[in-house]
Point group: C2
Chain length 538, copies 2
């Protein structure tokens, strides 16, 4: 993973000429005054942990698995939000951990937590490092106010086994450090799939999916990641929890749901028992066009509400608004090409056994036609599927060209969706309008649907000002206020981290915060786990 950007540097995406023209003419983008820092120019704080503490950690994991070198520390600094990348491009690694610890087993994780609690060292669990909400940044003020002596990144990359497959229950036990493609490769050996394909797929890990309540592009069919987790093992500074004896239970609150979305603040997930599916024999992706976003929204709602359980729902279902359809972001390989589609593009993907795919596709087609959809055939769907993981590469090129590009997302009930859509667009346009008149480009798609509501995923492109971090912070704040004000949740699948903390506190209220603090106090009394993340006023 590129230290200052996304993914494999060899796959860096050149901006197509029409995009460069569009950026210059429409948005007033100019190349930044200062080039990005090189790796050698990055500024790191000194290692704050005393050598005896590092030695104690090394005694648990083996010396080669405690790293305090610059390379390891820089590669575990923050996540992959646009502000994270902008900061790293200036050479600022002030949030770097003092060391990176790589445990090799549940027992080593548990022992590291015990040691860190004893020595008052903050621990930031680290999977793929793809957080876009500040979920990997231990707040320095918390380190000081909490009397903590330093911070380690707990890299779970060595916990990367498929432990067992249960073909009767259709579950598999997997370790949290597995990146999604590794997990899919291991499961494919058994003819199985998880079916979890978020934008971060190529780098994100299973533990991160669970800890941040990830939702993937195929979640309409295969379910969100939190739906897939039927059991888990969690290490905390006070010991271990084993949760999940049945798909569903009436034995008290569902404790799985306490750790799903806990972002490393309550414990470290060391294994996951996950629902798996037969690898699909057939994959069929197709496009549909609707005249307006409202008409397309109504059509998607129809698919989500048809039958119980839903009978016409595709595995993948998304709807781009007019702007996103026009720009062609739904098909990154065609970005900005002349003749881009008008109206609003729906991508529908069907995966499964041949009979099942045929049945579901026919049922969905009847509903989409009835709702006014025009069938575009497989091409737009296939193009989307090909380009689905390439958007983050594009971001690096845009940042280098002087444009800020960032995404944000929310979810709400269907009835609130039109108002929420308008409110967020208005807020972003208001916050990012440049004095020269070049407004931001604000695109949106419905990325996930449920019977009672859906998520909205916004992509924003704007010309950088002299202080792009402050510029984006203001836009983000305005968008967050618009989301909360219009009744949406501050995140449908990115999480809370540090960036959403204020809006999250407003969303759950004082007593919601009390619940989190009550749990935190019992499981992590020393407050070492990912301090500053998730829990309001902790």
């Amino acid at each position: 993973m590129l230290w200052s950007g996304w993914g494999d540097p060899a796959r860096a995406a050149e901006l197509p000429a029409p995009v460069r023209d569009l950026l210059t003419e429409l948005l007033g983008v100019r190349a930044p005054a200062t080039p990005a820092a090189t790796f050698g120019e990055v500024r790191l704080p000194p290692v704050a942990l005393p050598p005896p503490v590092l030695a104690a950690l090394a005694a648990v994991t083996g010396e080669e698995h405690v790293r305090a070198d610059d390379d390891a520390r820089i590669r575990h600094t923050r996540g992959k939000s646009t502000p994270d990348l902008l900061l790293m491009r200036t050479g600022d690694a002030s949030d770097a951990p003092d060391a990176v610890v790589l445990p090799g087993s549940h027992e080593e994780v548990a022992e590291v937590l015990r040691l860190c609690a004893e020595h008052r060292v903050a621990v930031v669990p680290f999977g793929g490092g793809t957080s876009v909400v500040g979920g990997l940044t231990a707040a320095r003020r918390h380190l000081h106010s909490g009397g903590l002596t330093g911070v380690v990144a707990l890299d779970l990359g060595r916990l990367d086994r498929l432990r067992s497959v249960d073909p009767v229950s259709m579950t598999a036990v997997l370790e949290p450090g597995l990146r999604a493609p590794q997990a899919e490769r291991l499961l494919a050996g058994h003819g199985l799939t998880l079916g979890h394909f978020p934008q971060s797929y190529e780098y994100a890990t299973l533990g991160g999916f669970a800890a941040a309540r990830s939702s993937g592009q195929a979640s309409a069919g295969y379910g969100r990641f939190d739906d897939m987790v039927v059991g888990m093992t969690v290490a905390t500074p006070r010991g271990t929890l084993e949760i999940g004896r049945a798909p569903k239970s009436a034995a008290g609150p569902d404790l799985r749901q306490v750790f799903l979305g806990s972002e490393g603040a309550f414990g470290v997930i060391t294994s996951l028992r996950l629902r798996v599916h037969p690898a699909p024999a057939v994959r069929a992706y197709e496009g549909w066009r609707f005249e307006t976003f409202a008409a397309g929204t109504a059509a998607l709602r129809g698919l989500a509400q048809e039958g119980a359980p839903p009978a016409a729902l595709p595995t993948v279902l998304r709807l781009s608004d007019e702007t996103e359809t026009m720009v062609g972001l739904a098909k990154p390989t065609d970005l900005g090409a002349p003749g881009s589609d008008s109206g609003c593009l729906v991508v529908a993907g069907f995966e499964g056994a041949p009979g099942e795919v045929a049945r579901r596709r026919e049922h969905a087609a009847a509903l989409l036609l009835e709702a006014g959809g025009v069938h575009l055939g497989p091409e737009p769907g296939e193009k989307w599927a090909q380009g689905r993981f390439s958007a983050p590469y594009l971001r690096d090129s845009l940042l280098a060209a002087g444009a800020t590009v960032e995404t944000l997302e929310t979810a709400c009930f269907w009835a609130d969706l039109p108002r929420l859509y308008d409110a967020v667009r208005l807020a972003l346009h208001g916050a990012l309008r440049s004095p020269s008149g070049g407004g931001p480009l604000v695109m949106c798609h419905i990325s996930h649907v449920y019977a009672t509501g859906a998520s909205l995923y916004f992509t924003v492109v704007t010309a950088q000002t002299g202080d792009p971090l402050a510029q984006w912070a203001a836009a983000k704040r305005a968008a967050g206020e618009a989301i909360v004000g219009a009744g949406g949740t501050i995140s449908h699948h990115h999480g809370v981290g540090r960036d959403h903390l204020e809006a999250y506190a407003a969303e759950i209220g004082d007593l919601g915060g009390e619940i989190l603090r009550g749990i935190k106090e019992r499981l992590d009394p020393a407050g070492i786990l990912n301090p500053g993340v998730l829990i309001p006023m902790y």
Copy 2:
């Protein structure tokens, strides 16, 4: 509701002659030595609350809504488990609340909680009074050790409105005191249904469904009650929570899941936003026969695992084992009739729009045939649907005849199901074998299916000994140990209450208990809410 039994006394079920013979000959049942106490013979403890406290409560709700008369107190004593009824039949109402408080609004609930915390009065939230796990019994020892001066039942029956319907999001906001049939009638006025039909349907309330994670007979199609709850308002002694801005969110742990299953120990649910469905145009119920429980189990698993989302799953799906099929418990109207079916009966019910029902039924039939099922036509399904709420009436007649009948249930992953089934049957037979050789009758059905597992629902009939409470307590303990030992959860849809507390503590472990205690401490620092229920060692 009958004070010492179930439901409308006018609907009391006479035991058919073949059943009486079967009880006598097979199980050695003899009429009990002492007849059941009459209402006038019931022994109540004196009202422990000082008059000023009762007056303060009356100032909140109005005098007519604070009742300390014998009738109100007896009717709010305990729930409807067989031990509860056995105890009541002896005239023992020692667990009666000191008074019954009937608030008329969220604000009144909140104020009652505040007052009770101030005066250290325990509060037991009371909906339909149908708990079968001791969920309505404030433990007297907790009252004393917690320094509480008395206990009130908080009857939510006056919170019985349908507040609003959102036909776009397909949700409705309903109040917790609504009994299920009332809620269905109100929703039917809008062409809608909840689709929640547990055994306790005729009396249980929506608030109870949520607080105890109810699951209904049609949950395969419409989902469990916890799946239906998209939002809620909760009053606690420290204030109010509003939860649920979207169907799903990544903004932290799902706090809805903290209150679902909280059994009144964390707060009082004062409104629920629930997923609703169009009232089905078609209802088609049918029967299938499988040679063995194992073959039927495999067939149900096939239906639950076909497609994502599941495409062949009926709305209602259950499988009786050989004993239950033979006895005909699946068709209570035919109970003990000659010519009862052999093998194992599957009841499959399909509800929805005509096309959807036809499609799903055909798909399910193909899978059931392939799995070795024999189609029995609509009759067994229709009979089951007619008799579905009559079993609790039968229990009263059996108790009067000198037989103990009780149910218990669990859930597990599919791979663990055969072992769990055997272990529980063995435990019950061992605990209830009489010296004279008349063994108990142990019947079982799979009552709910999921992709990764299912629930097992056991019905036990045995001849009463001289101390039927001790007799059942021993059997229940043995069954609970078998469930926990075989990897199941101690309850799939009845809850924890007081009766499952020990097994529940083993299931969630010390740290699971710590999570509950951490939440409790923050929301209910005085410990007034349903003391003794749900939370281990509190």
